[in-house]
């Protein structure tokens, strides 16, 4: 089974909760973890991974380059670039901003001088594999700074994870998705069997989780909700009301607990670092519900 954990908003505790759930499910199931936040991967850190066993470069991205020797400075490339990535430098040369180029090659197609603008393949990032000290493997990715295609990295991560699942006879893939609703999240949610949404009771988090839920609905996946930092905003009932109105079962509520940021500094799942904390008690209950309702159900 493939379970994706998403939140729409960053910083609501998605990776902390994922790390603790992995810790709690590892003894009963054969798992693989996928950190699908290729722009800010953190799950490996939270699971204490320091050495990556295998690293593969992803050379998918393309970047346009302009040869100043043959360029006739007509400016058509700059005019036609759909993302306004071409500018004129101080010497009067047209230059592609490599940190914003999407690699669509429109500039190359409209350029009247053949060979002046070329589309070059560049590295967009790396995908890595490690075995955590808990026994299960993790796949993670890191997009290079300023590169496009983070969604493609995530797709490749999931393909690699699927192969390992087959080779090692693993049962479940747990995917920790990125913030937002864009390509990385769509690549994370697509193909999953179940989505677990994490939200905190704030208007901003509600707004973002509603957006990611629409993406989940698009893939017709059943969704569940975990309310994190459940007590930080007493009186805010809209998150629970929304879940109820959409028929999204709430798997549990986790109170704000300073042991969570502390455990992050220790690079351990909070349920391992502070097993007696109130957050740990709550996540254990959530894990039981997940086993019962989602995995066995």
């Amino acid at each position: 089974m493939q379970i994706v954990i998403a939140s729409g908003k960053g910083g609501v505790g998605k990776s902390s909760i994922t790390a603790s759930l992995l810790y709690l499910l590892k003894d009963d199931y054969r798992l693989i973890a996928v950190d699908a936040d290729a722009e800010a991967p953190n799950l490996g850190l939270l699971l204490g991974v320091t050495n990556w066993e295998e690293e593969r470069e992803h050379v998918g991205a393309k970047i346009a380059r302009i040869n100043p020797e043959t360029c006739i400075r007509c400016g058509i490339c700059r005019e036609r670039c759909p993302y306004e990535c071409i500018y004129m430098d101080e010497y009067g040369n047209y230059v592609v901003n490599e940190l914003t180029c999407e690699g669509c090659n429109v500039c190359g197609l409209v350029c009247p001088v053949p060979g002046t603008i070329t589309l070059e393949q560049v590295r967009s990032g790396v995908i890595r594999k490690a075995t955590t000290k808990y026994g299960f493997p993790i796949i993670s990715a890191q997009l290079d700074v300023g590169r496009p295609e983070s969604g493609k990295l995530v797709t490749e991560e999931k393909e690699w994870a699927s192969r390992i699942m087959k080779e090692q006879g693993l049962e479940h893939m747990i995917v920790d998705s990125a913030a937002g609703i864009g390509c990385q999240v769509i690549a994370s949610v697509g193909g999953a069997d179940v989505a677990i949404l994490i939200a905190e009771p704030t208007p901003a988090s509600l707004s973002d989780v509603q957006r990611v839920y629409k993406v989940v609905q698009h893939f017709h996946e059943p969704a569940y909700l975990i309310v994190n930092k459940a007590d930080i905003n007493p009186g805010f009932t809209k998150l629970r009301e929304w879940a109820e109105s959409e028929g999204i079962p709430i798997l549990g509520e986790i109170p704000y607990d300073s042991s969570i940021p502390k455990s992050m500094s220790m690079l351990k799942p909070f349920v391992e670092a502070f097993p007696d904390s109130k957050a740990s008690k709550a996540i254990r209950e959530v894990a039981e519900v997940i086993k019962e309702e989602i995995i066995r159900g």
């Binding site: 960053g10 953190n42 983070s150 901003a204 805010f236």
Partner: protein
């Protein structure tokens, strides 16, 4: 003038910093705040305003006129997104969600009129008056759309229609090319970070982006009591970035955050921290 607030990791407090310095700096500049976190825009929620002046953002999509198409497959060959697939006989079909609207297919099509102008709604932009004497411009990607770059570009274009002396952009999380697109044109980059190992890891990436873009970069350490701030100082120094503020974890900040009242408009002592950040920016820009 333009400055950017970014942070690498999600949830570090970018929007809190952006909104509060906007309220403060709007006292000195004719100001626009642009929320370019188009996948999860929240500045309006933090400001307690409803989004106004909605405008649709449409993106080009090829529409094939099969009576004219000569099935040469050029459109499919040139599509870097592989959004156009062809049947055995060369008949092209579009997979709409993969299309980035770049028009490469239209450019190479040898038959006039075989590819016609189609379009798809990919999101919205908004221009909202705030009670704090500045205008908020927001980009919001439509759910199910994969590509945020066109919406970031459209939102920045809408910003250009307005007049302002200072533009503050609030970016998405991460350090991919949509974040650099948002930051582009800034004279100052403010990286909001947390002193946790995770926060520090991501901060390094945003500092690297600032270095590559050759933009003066400052660091604001949020929730500064939740980890080792010295580590942040060390990393900042390595990139020649100055740490300009430490914001401790504060229930008052959480309270004002959830109530849609920027903390600089309150009497809470923490308001002073944001005012000092704004002062420092003011002195830098002057």
């Amino acid at each position: 003038m333009q400055i950017a607030v970014s942070g690498g990791k999600g949830g570090t407090g970018k929007s809190t910093v952006a909104v509060n310095i906007a309220v403060e700096l709007a006292k000195k500049f004719k100001l626009v705040l642009a929320d370019l976190d188009v996948e999860a825009p929240n500045d309006h929620i933090l400001l307690g305003v409803n989004l106004g002046n909605e405008r649709e953002v449409h993106q080009f999509m090829p529409k094939f006129d099969y009576s004219k198409c000569i099935k040469c497959r050029k459109c499919a060959e040139v599509c870097e997104e592989h959004a156009i697939v062809t049947l055995k006989d060369g008949t092209p079909f579009l997979m709409p969600t993969l299309c980035s609207g770049c028009r490469a297919c239209e450019i190479v099509c040898p038959v006039p009129g075989a590819i016609q102008e189609g379009s798809r709604l990919i999101g919205h932009t908004y221009v909202t008056e705030t009670p704090y004497n500045f205008i908020l411009v927001t980009g919001k990607l439509r759910e199910g759309e994969e590509r945020s770059m066109p919406l970031v570009v459209a939102t920045k274009r809408r910003v250009k229609e307005l007049s302002w002396d200072l533009l503050i952009v609030d970016t998405a999380a991460g350090t991919g090319n949509t974040v650099s697109k948002a930051i582009e044109g800034s004279e100052l980059l403010i990286a909001v970070t947390e002193p946790t190992p995770l926060g520090i890891h991501d901060t390094e990436l945003i500092l690297e982006l600032g270095r590559l873009m050759e933009i003066e970069t400052w660091v604001v350490i949020n929730r500064s009591d939740l980890g080792d701030v010295n580590e942040v100082y060390r990393r900042a120094e390595r990139y020649g970035a100055e740490v300009i503020a430490e914001i401790p974890y504060s229930e008052n900040i959480v309270k004002t955050y959830v109530s849609g009242t920027p903390i600089v408009t309150t009497n809470f002592p923490e308001a002073e921290i944001f005012r000092k950040i704004a002062d420092k920016i003011y002195n830098f820009l002057r």
